[in-house]
């Protein structure tokens, strides 16, 4: 239980670090560490497939995308730095939220978890994905095609002579 809660706390700390960091590159790396923590939590819950997806896609691919984009816009980051005061106020705002939420949220969440209806459980993730939720896979393919189309339309090929 301590390991489990520690992972959640680490995810929150890395997220706050990502928000407060001055450099966008460090923010992207801290975001990857949040993803690693989330992936370990998935493993701890007994969800290895989701954990491997999270680790490879969110901690890997998305970090590479962020670092690529940040390296393209680095000159702007150095020329027009943002006002840091609002970011340094995050621990204070977070502490106020945490203390206020401590009085209300745990009771509400206890009530909420008592409403849970226990499912059948078991089953196989392969059967679930390929047989029962096949429309989801079609939706994912359509989503990926939409992403490719967006990138293609944002960066059109220039016509010759222009």
């Amino acid at each position: 239980m301590i390991y489990h809660t520690l992972l959640f706390a680490l995810a929150v700390v890395f997220a706050a670090w990502a928000v407060m960091s001055r450099s966008l590159l460090i923010s992207a790396m801290m975001l990857a560490l949040v993803s690693v923590c989330v992936s370990l939590i998935f493993f701890n819950f007994g969800a290895p497939v989701a954990a491997v997806f999270e680790l490879s896609v969110c901690a890997g691919l998305i970090t590479v995308l962020f670092i690529g984009a940040v390296s393209l816009i680095r000159t702007d980051e150095e020329a027009h730095p943002e006002n840091r005061v609002r970011f340094y106020a995050l621990p204070l705002a977070g502490a106020i939220f945490a203390i206020a939420a401590w009085f209300y949220l745990p009771g509400f969440f206890n009530e909420l978890s008592s409403w849970a209806r226990i499912g059948r459980g078991g089953g196989d993730i392969g059967l679930e994905l390929w047989d029962m939720r096949r429309p989801d896979l079609l939706g994912q393919l359509a989503m990926l095609a939409a992403g490719v189309f967006v990138v293609k339309s944002v960066f059109p090929r220039r016509a010759k002579g222009k």
Binding site: A47, A50, V57, I62
Partner: protein, 101 residues
């Protein structure tokens, strides 16, 4: 307090951090980072609800779908960022309106 209540309390802190990032910053990269943090909170909520109701298989299938959608949203957002930077030389989110056709 049971373990799920504590988990959800920490998830609430995570989501608050993401919202704060989106509210405090005008940079498109930081908006996307805030969005990512909020979506991590949503994923953790789904998986812990799956563990609570003994439905982890459904939860995993849903999370795989969420991850795919997240990647596409981030890729589209970063593409817009780079395009905006090439046109305006800025990553300010308020300058995105110059991209309209």
């Amino acid at each position: 307090m049971n373990i799920f209540s504590l988990d959800w309390y920490l998830i609430a802190l995570l989501v608050f951090t993401g919202f704060y990032c989106m509210l405090a910053s005008r940079s498109i990269v930081r908006q996307l980072i805030g969005l990512e943090i909020i979506s991590k909170g949503a994923m953790l909520t789904v998986i812990s609800a799956g563990a609570l109701t003994n439905n982890l298989v459904f939860a995993q299938a849903l999370i795989i779908t969420m991850i795919v959608i997240e990647v596409v949203v981030v890729a589209a957002g970063l593409a817009l960022l780079v395009k905006n930077f090439r046109i305006n030389g800025s990553t300010d989110i308020w300058k995105l309106n110059s991209l309209k056709g």
